[in-house]
Symmetry: C2
Subunit: 579 residues, 2 copies
């Protein structure tokens, strides 16, 4: 039995809000929000049949995220991708019974035409870059679900998959293409738009699917794409199947994928809304969640993210954690942090520096961490850990400077110490203030494995690349560490005392926000990811960095650039000099 889980929302009020501040003058238009839920989906149809979920793209062309373009041919904008990200996330938490996910289209002859060109053409540079980053993160989350959560994605291309459409397919574990004489895969970006298929496509072509580079070259310049058996022979899809047998073959393969994947014991854990309370007073806007607060000072161009640690009363066994569900501190706090990071990225583009603070008991954080670690074989606990990992990766990839401020009363311990390790630098107050308990940090099992960065290393291993034994030796440091000890162990950058703290931190902040935002982005992207590169880091560095460059170039975005004139009668004009 196939059950439609969702229908179109009853009113436009439920649609994602329509304008990023980035798109116009600051303050103009409603800010973008990233929370959604199945009842509000406008662009995807989700259905379930036993262990198999069907995710069908059915973009409402009349519901763009902001006015000015139509989402024809299953093309997408950020709002469409926010729904997809929500689907991938909820399938993992709410539907543990699902073991195979068929991604397909509910529209005739088109699977997905990729990111909407008119949306891109009319967006600011910063929005384009952030849009691509978000869609990349969504596709990586989908791949992580295949690799880690036993939810195997199968792309069923029942129509044309071009550009970002084919990139979505590439993120799936397998790709089936309908061999009907018209369904095709293509990367028309370079020949038609003078940009790259920048959502990981080129990297996945040669690094994930390992398509031969000369074939990838031909394919990536062939606007009309490749159909049927040729697509299969070139390794672009796993199977090209005649129309008459397509649905059956997809169903059979999905059943096989599901059958070869271990069960996860239900029931699922419902992800409740985060219910942020938002306020704006003068230059300062705040978002207060249960465990997280975001405070943006637009005049100072700084933001403070404060995370409250757990209260120590949390469950220590898997059954208790499942009962706590979305209220489990580790899940709730990191979901809130994720939402705050996205808010910051899209709605506060001029903020240059994020100050990370925590409040609470280091021991309570460590207890929560140890409970997670002890129960990591439980599927739900594992999902909580994977989610923390994804959120921390999102922080690593946030193009803002990040300082951690470690003060008395803070709880930079274990999973929350990862915030300090993710920061570009950290300041730790040495000694107490007015007799208060001095600041302390602490490590937990979560610092030594489950929360790896996108380079495949833990943040400690990345930090001590020169001396891996130092990272390992820290396992022996099971107590609270004072500022002096933290400095000695290389775990913080500066340790001013109470006398110097205010001035030193203030000067560091003032200096940081005075520097060129672009140079800092390039510098931080170079310093944050030392050591090995993975497909994931290659997507964000090599591919995205080139795409960012191209997104600046007159050949793409100038008055006669290809992106600008797309859909108009005139042809693009290029400056032929090669760089």
């Amino acid at each position: 039995m196939r059950m439609e889980a969702t229908t179109s929302p009853p009113s436009a009020a439920a649609a994602p809000q329509t304008r990023a501040r980035d798109e116009g003058s600051p303050g103009e238009g409603a800010p973008l929000r990233f929370e959604t839920e199945p009842g509000r989906y406008r662009h995807w149809k989700l259905s379930f049949e036993g262990a198999i979920a069907r995710v069908a793209m059915d973009v409402d062309e009349e519901a763009p995220m902001r006015p000015g373009y139509q989402l024809k041919l299953n093309s997408y904008d950020l709002a469409v991708d926010i729904e997809l990200a929500d689907i991938v996330q909820r399938l993992r938490f709410e539907h543990p019974e699902v073991k195979a996910v068929v991604v397909t289209s509910a529209q005739p002859r088109i699977f997905c035409a990729g990111a909407n060109i008119y949306m891109l053409g009319s967006s600011t540079h910063a929005f384009k870059v952030n849009f691509c980053k978000f869609t990349n993160e969504t596709r990586l989350a989908l791949e992580e679900a295949c690799a880690e959560s036993g939810q195997r994605y199968l792309a069923a291309l029942n129509g044309v998959a071009s550009g970002g459409g084919y990139e979505l397919a590439l993120a799936c574990e397998e790709i089936f293409l309908c061999d009907d004489g018209s369904s095709a895969v293509s990367f028309p970006e370079t020949p038609l738009l003078a940009v790259l298929p920048g959502t990981g496509g080129l990297t996945r072509l040669v690094d994930k699917r390992k398509v031969r580079r000369d074939i990838a070259d031909v394919f990536s310049t062939l606007a009309e794409g490749v159909r049927g058996k040729r697509a299969q022979a070139w390794g672009l899809v796993d199977s090209a199947i005649p129309k008459s047998r397509f649905d059956q073959a997809v169903a059979q393969r999905a059943a096989e994928l599901a059958a070869s994947t271990p069960d996860r014991e239900g029931p699922g854990v419902k992800l409740a809304p985060l219910e942020a309370r938002r306020e704006e007073k003068g230059d300062v806007s705040t978002s207060a969640y249960r465990h997280v607060s975001l405070r943006v000072d637009s005049a100072a161009r700084t933001a403070e993210i404060r995370v409250l640690g757990p209260d120590g009363s949390g469950p220590s066994d898997a059954a208790g954690m499942r009962r706590a569900g979305a209220d489990l501190w580790a899940l709730r706090a990191f979901r809130e942090l994720d939402d705050a990071l996205l808010d910051l990225r899209f709605n506060h583009p001029a903020v240059g520096l994020v100050l990370l603070r925590t409040s609470g008991s280091p021991d309570a954080v460590r207890a929560a961490d140890e409970a997670l670690w002890a129960n990591r074989d439980d599927w739900f606990v594992k999902e909580v850990l994977l989610h923390m990992r994804r959120v921390l990766k999102r922080l690593d990839l946030t193009a803002r400077s990040v300082f951690a401020l470690i003060e008395p009363g803070s709880c930079f311990a274990g999973s929350l110490f990862e915030l300090a390790l993710a920061a570009d630098r950290s300041y730790m107050l040495d000694g107490g203030e007015d007799g208060a308990e001095p600041a302390a940090i602490a490590l937990s099992a979560l610092n030594f494995g489950p929360l790896v960065m996108s380079n495949g290393l833990t943040r400690l291993a990345s930090r001590f690349l020169a001396a891996p034994e130092r990272a390992l030796a820290l396992k022996e440091k099971t107590g609270l560490l004072s500022a002096e000890e933290a400095l000695e162990e290389g775990l913080c950058t500066f340790t001013p005392d109470a006398m110097d703290w205010d001035d030193e931190v203030r000067l560091a902040i003032e200096e940081r926000v005075s520097l060129s935002p672009d140079a800092l982005t390039g510098m931080e992207a170079s310093l944050r990811f030392c050591g090995p590169e993975t497909m994931e880091t290659k997507i964000f560095s090599r591919l995205s960095a080139w795409q960012n460059w191209i997104f600046q170039r007159p050949n793409a975005v100038g008055p006669r650039g290809a992106l600008t004139v797309y859909g108009r009668p005139e042809r693009p004009e290029f400056d032929w000099r090669r760089t």
Copy 2:
């Protein structure tokens, strides 16, 4: 005894020519040339003492490569770096007795101030990018000399090393800093110029020296840099030594490095001038070398590089190869190819597509290759192989589309088949034309190891990333391969027959040169380097791609950008939006 090998040249006529076409209108100014020799150096002093060479930077501030700036404080431009590249190359071939190289400054209180800011500020984007690429290649060649040629570079910082100056030091195996209260290392680019230290510096900081990322962050925003013991404690230099003991400590360490390195039996092999004959007729300019020709059609925006294979009479033993010296086909042909690639990069920026052709006997190429491989333990033969590897890497990194055209009479075999593997695609004519011998390709030992790409893999291994066993199985293919066999083995892209050849190749060329140069650059950079990333590829992808982006941004190069207003009274103005 210390012997000054060079003095300033007697007349300005010997100085590198002064204007890249890129800098003004096409055709204006003399083209840049990359050949030089010690008698013509203007900016470096080279001296020898037994196994130790001393390379002292002494930039002539009145001899910029083009008018408009002075090379104060040992700052450099392309002409200075062309001399350095020549030094590194000639030390390897002409001075096998050298086992340690001390890089220092002949000017008081300054080691090197890095790339000249006014030169950068007044250069086109394309020139800046090509300049950085060349300087990166030079530093990587220096590192290769340390790793492979037993010439160990020691940076003796007897003054301030800022920006590119410190990056040059980072390329050396060890760095000694004079602890005199004023000598310092610094990366002032981000705080002062709103760009990156883009010659590998940030990558080498965290990936080669493995400096902790938060310390690297602090250092890279500290315009005044770091001196003495602090530089040593932060891992920025290996040793900070009081002035009174500095020269002695450097001499002693150089002697130790030399003593711990195996001897290479002399005499050296003198690198003779290449003596290209250049001609220009209408839209077509040609450079004819002995074994290589470059033909640029500026109307069609294509270039043809043709390499003539050896005549089969070359030496088969090391002694014979040393006697042949710079006339050895493999050395001469690849030096010519290198010069042609640099000519193309800097003097013909509008060329979008390079057609690679060869003429000669595949068997003669294989014989030359096998002779090199059989004698690879000889230092000179090893240098020849390493040089071929560097030139092929330069081809991989050339931001132009590359097609290999494999026709009857060609000799894409062994080392010359690497040209076809480096190409974005290859066309091989299937069958003969008018009874001529049909085109054939062939492999040699050089395809299976010594000529690895910057990703650390052979071009065959990169090509067959999906099936490494296919690359290995090709070792059994010891004969000539026809077009049909080459296609079957995955060694060429297309095999039109004589009937289709002209049209198919013409159409492919026309299509390629019609596409956006920027999108192609980004696409090729993504498709050419599959598989692992190394420090070397990270420098060219992550770091350089971000630098290219920053070099486009108004915050650096706009009318009030930091690079533009540097040295003027006004302060830069930034668009604060972070991307």
